[in-house]
Symmetry: C2
């Protein structure tokens, strides 16, 4: 088969060229089989042709490359392979593992989130009781003191356990899901889970107006990542694409369990975290979120915690003529959302610029004090946000509720807007969704009440609160699925059209001013990300302008000595994958740096054996060691999803001739992403987003001329930096 | 820039190879600039170096390739380009066009769909009146006669206007959206629109139990395609990715306007038609669907047509303990859904095998007669499906409704199941969703009524009807978003958890037996499609096993004569794009066949001028003709989304020397998708799904050795055929 292709390719070339091509092949073959001969300048009739004739060697090399090495070489895998060949299904089919994983993840995450909520509720109840039982002044003192103490404790957990737990957590997950798993792995450790949970309980318990859906997403992802450790599920982690899909499902369950909104949770996680979505992973998200939502459904009907109540609007409550008023509210909320993002960023950057070294405890203590002082006097402010939102959503007119009046209604959005904008930059766990929801509900209710004064009883302010909540949250997060979440939270769809119109307008208006809060947080925290290429920015930029040039021998050859490899590793300290080429520069594959370093170390250690000449060569690696599993997995991380891996064997060459199979196996991704040097940058960007490779190798007439890593796309000027 | 890269690449090669590489380059340069010199075997010191020195020529060639040619060369585009350079925004920004397009599309499609519904309603009302006014026997005769006449008329429209209008239409759109736009363009013509609309009105009016959501999707897509013709929107069509996104939005509005379900419509269109989804196109779908849903909201509250009524279940109607019963219903519906698909396929294949040449009128007439005979006696059967579904969804117990009793309830699912399975294979427009909905509602209601007999009044059969409708439809279409559609149709979310559980189970159970009905229809009608690679089927297959080999000169060289080009075109009649390589086989780009044929024709026509030596060469093409717009657009269709296009100039070479710029411009995609020959097939499949290229070019050590087209992936054994 290879022979025909070769013959075909060379038949069409002119004689001189064909000769050249043959020579290239020959050199290449020599490189494969008898490396030392090439370096000493041996002719094509080298004596080594004896033990491995050119053609045979070539095809055997190709066979080695073709050998599928996705499975590891343990007896268990061999058994499974044999069984599969006989048509007998494997002991535990893949689907069973996946379904059990998703269900378990949904249940565990929902229970964990419920426990956090229970703790928060306990603290809130205790503090409110404290406030009512004792003397007012003493009560206030205790309230203030407990607020500051809890908030300090919250940031303490983050400082001691893990700083990764600070902030929403959703931006980190966004970074992981857009392909930066390797660099963000630390955010998925168990200690982060505890820091996040404890910090969240203290922060919300301490009265800071922060949300819990972002931290919940983070917590769910950590739980998923820890569940992979169970041997039964280990297989799921190995497949990179599946790992990302299960992490996306974890994000969905985090959101679903925060609101009891399975569909909205899945959609919201898609919109805020992904650039594209595989339809085959939709059911995974829904299944996981549904398991979580069923637990929510069971637990949140107990009076142990606060929960959203359904609304009970009549059909005529949502007037069809009022659609323009709802639309106006949507536009207004889009503007306010954009302003909110500016405020969050402005406050954070001002603090960083003017007071860069401020002590975290001082900072948190000050905000906690202000928050307690401002929120103490008004009952609506101090309420659990869900209870406050329930009040605002009610169809009952203002004068008939005893929970709030005009003063509370006017001050609520203003106070919360500022407090939340400040709190989001603090070094403690802090979500965005619920505070936005509350601010939006407040604004909407106020808007509705004003309209009611103008237009009379046809206006039901509660519906404006619902629309406002969805629209403001959409203006902040730029997610259309805020509408679906609000449908699920309110349990009604009477207000579908107004909510959708307002949400759509809020997103469009908001996008005209700045990017979503999550994107802004990614930038603020300098997380790695894959930005969106804008249509109007340098559309004619090519890959060549961005790539890192291959100036001189930066590639591994099959016959490179150990010392050369060592030099190479030192010269390119930031390349996690090193390309392998033949002598003429034609790309053969890529090898993981970590594996290479380990092998170099081994080679150095073995130098005492007599010779220090070490060379890479291709060899059938079925006799490879067990260690290959880990090494291959390592290599696959950076490869486009489920890339084939061949084995480069790396053996000690003590003398010429005598093929030894004592070599150590070096896993090699043999089909890395390859693009031409004049490919448009936006095409490459699309490939990076869709295929999530670690790096792309740029070739010019078949030869490797450069490498583009994910980071290069961010660093080049073609992507919007703010 | 090029110089450095070149030097770097060659510095690492051994001397002999470097010489070879230089020679390759030289040949290549010659090929570019003085094609004739190469064919006569000129040395590197050829006289042609005079008018274009090697190095300069190389970089100028590269510059030509780099020249961005996405925009066309009309004065309008140049003006826009100049304005953009000066920082002045273009007269009409892209977003304005897009938003107006989406809104217009939504409104027009919804109105068109409403008009169809109005016509159907008129026919139904007339026929029902006919039945009641006259003598029973005469009434029956007229009813039967009108049914047969209308159904025959329906298939007549399809036969005379366009056969593309037959069937659901959704499978065709699926085919288009998965990248087969070129081959399916005919399905988007105006005559298909009329055939589909008239055929649909007659078929439903004639009493056949077919749905309208698939035809509505098709109609919306045709409307979108025709709206592109408006000059204001023409720009949107040019961008391939945007065209697909707007077509996806059209699918969403087709569904949304069929049920008044904007969110469900968007999700359903994603799930049934896409393999992956760009998040940035989500808002486009929602916006378009929302415009449609607002029109629906306005029009369907009029008594002119039937509409879905909201349900009014109490919270306690959906018992939490009954979740296992709902789950059992879901499993049952999954099984029935799979059986339904088997029946549809079985009936169609039996007819094709046993009675291949049956006259379409005989076939339709027979089915229409049976349908009228069976459905006439029972009022529930003859009702508009929406009215029947409303009846079945009601929370009122069986004995208290006067619309149906046990007999109707038992016979409804059986009769409709068989009738729908037969009707779906007929040569007339026929949707799937609404009939499935009705069958599911019937089954669910029956299941609920039986449970009520067993468990007593705690069971509300209406909720089972709702769950059954969603689950059976999900079992047939394998779309989880059937649940969202049912939430929007019923206007309630009380039954969220039961519906989701049942739908999820139905999809999983159904998938264990066969593929979705839409996928089955794609196979039955032999439409081009990009199938899903299954995990367990030959995971180690490589690209090499699938590709079409390049055996002998199948590629265009820059210096190929017109006669050679002609031979090439004849030899490879099925290649819509032809690869361009240099003499040594290194891939340079790809050229559209249609453009090439046209240019060959021109060259032949111009032969009388004296010489018949025609050669391709690269030239700056800014003096190219206006025709380039169309030609480039043509080339871009097959290229990965928004590929860069360079221009290959194809000029008449009357004698050596003397650079002429009278040439005709040949647009060339200079960065087609390139993969190594040992790439795993499943990797390539992923690239085809995500990047939607027309073809992938397989290289081995930089040289082109094969081509893989979309069709090859379908034809190779690695994909499930049934």
């Amino acid at each position: 088969m290879n022979g025909t292709a070769e013959a075909g390719a060379s038949a069409s070339s002119p004689p001189s060229l064909r000769a050249a091509a043959e020579e290239v092949n020959f050199v290449f073959l020599e490189g494969v089989d008898v490396p030392a001969a090439v370096s000493t300048g041996a002719s094509s009739s080298s004596p080594t042709a004896r033990q491995a004739p050119a053609d045979g060697a070539f095809s055997s090399w190709t066979n080695v490359l073709l050998r599928r090495s996705d499975e590891s070489h343990t007896w268990r895998h061999r058994l499974a392979h044999a069984l599969r060949h006989l048509g007998i299904p494997q002991p535990v089919p893949y689907l069973t593992r996946l379904v059990s994983f998703l269900t378990l993840l949904g249940v565990v995450a929902a229970l964990f989130i419920f426990l956090i909520d229970l703790a928060v509720h306990g603290i809130e109840a205790a503090r409110n009781q404290l406030r009512q039982l004792v003397h007012p002044a003493l009560g206030f003192g205790l309230y203030l003191l407990s607020a500051v103490a809890l908030c300090l404790l919250s940031t303490f957990w983050c400082a001691t356990l893990s700083k990764e737990a600070e902030g929403s957590g959703l931006p980190q997950m966004k970074s992981i899901l857009s392909g930066f798993y390797d660099r963000m792995k630390d955010a998925l450790k168990v200690r982060v889970l505890f820091a996040k949970a404890l910090g969240l309980i203290c922060a919300i318990g301490g009265g800071l107006p922060v949300g819990w859906e972002g931290p919940n997403v983070h917590i769910s992802c950590i739980i998923a990542h820890q569940l992979y450790r169970i041997p039964f599920f280990r297989e799921l982690k190995r497949d990179r694409s599946l790992r990302l899909q299960t992490l996306a499902a974890a994000c969905a369950v985090g959101l679903a369990s925060s609101f009891g909104a399975p569909v909205g949770g899945v959609l919201y996680s898609i919109e805020t975290m992904a650039s594209f979505y595989l339809v085959q992973s939709f059911w995974k998200g829904v299944m996981c979120a549904l398991a979580g939502a069923m637990i929510y459904d069971l637990l949140y009907t107990t009076p142990l915690v606060e929960a959203f109540e359904g609304t009970t609007f009549d059909p005529q409550d949502v007037g069809r003529v009022q659609i323009f008023l709802y639309a106006a509210l949507g536009v207004l909320m889009g503007l306010l959302g954009a302003l909110f993002i500016c405020c969050v960023r402005g406050i954070y950057e001002m603090r960083m610029r003017r007071y860069p070294g401020t002590n975290r405890y001082f900072l948190v203590g000050a905000v906690a004090t202000v928050s307690a002082l401002v929120q103490y006097p008004v009952r609506l402010f101090a309420l659990d946000p869900r209870a406050a939102i329930n009040d605002l959503f009610r169809a009952v007119p203002l004068k008939m509720t005893d929970n709030f009046g005009w003063i509370e209604l006017v001050s609520l959005p203003i106070v919360k807007f500022l407090l939340v904008a400040v709190s989001l930059g603090l070094p403690l766990p802090a979500g965005i969704f619920i505070p936005s929801f509350l601010i939006g509900a407040g604004c909407g209710r106020l808007f509705g009440e004003v309209l009611r004064l103008v237009f009379g009883a046809a206006v039901v302010p509660g519906t404006y609160a619902v629309v406002g909540a969805a629209a403001f949250t959409a203006g902040v997060t730029r997610a259309l699925s805020c509408s679906v979440i609000i449908f699920e939270v309110t349990g009604q769809l009477r207000h579908m059209v107004p909510v959708l119109v307002a949400v759509l307008l809020a997103v469009i208006v908001g996008n005209a001013f700045n990017r979503s809060l999550y994107d802004t947080l990614v930038l603020m925290k300098q997380l790695p990300y894959m930005p969106i290429l804008r249509r109007d920015r340098r559309p004619d930029m090519t890959v060549e302008e961005v790539m890192r040039r291959i100036d001189s021998t930066p590639c591994l050859f099959p016959d490179l000595g150990a010392a050369d490899v060592q030099r190479l590793l030192e010269k390119f300290p930031d390349q996690p994958m090193l390309p392998v080429t033949d002598r003429s520069g034609v790309l053969l594959g890529a090898v993981s740096r970590r594996v290479l370093v380990a092998r170099c170390q081994e080679a150095r250690d073995g130098r005492s054996n007599g010779t220090d000449e070490v060379a890479f060569t291709m060899l059938d690696a079925s006799e490879g060691d067990e260690d290959i599993d880990g090494a291959m997995e390592e290599a696959r991380v950076g490869a486009p999803s489920s890339a084939p891996l061949a084995d480069l064997t790396y053996r000690k060459q003590q003398q010429q001739g005598g093929r030894r199979s004592e070599g150590v196996v070096l896993p090699c991704d043999v089909s890395p992403l390859q693009v031409a040097d004049y490919t448009l940058l936006r095409q490459l960007h699309f490939m990076f987003v869709m295929l999530m490779p670690h790096a792309a190798y740029v070739t010019k007439q078949g030869r490797l001329v450069g490498i583009v890593q994910r980071e290069d796309l961010v660093q080049c000027g073609a992507v919007p930096e703010s």
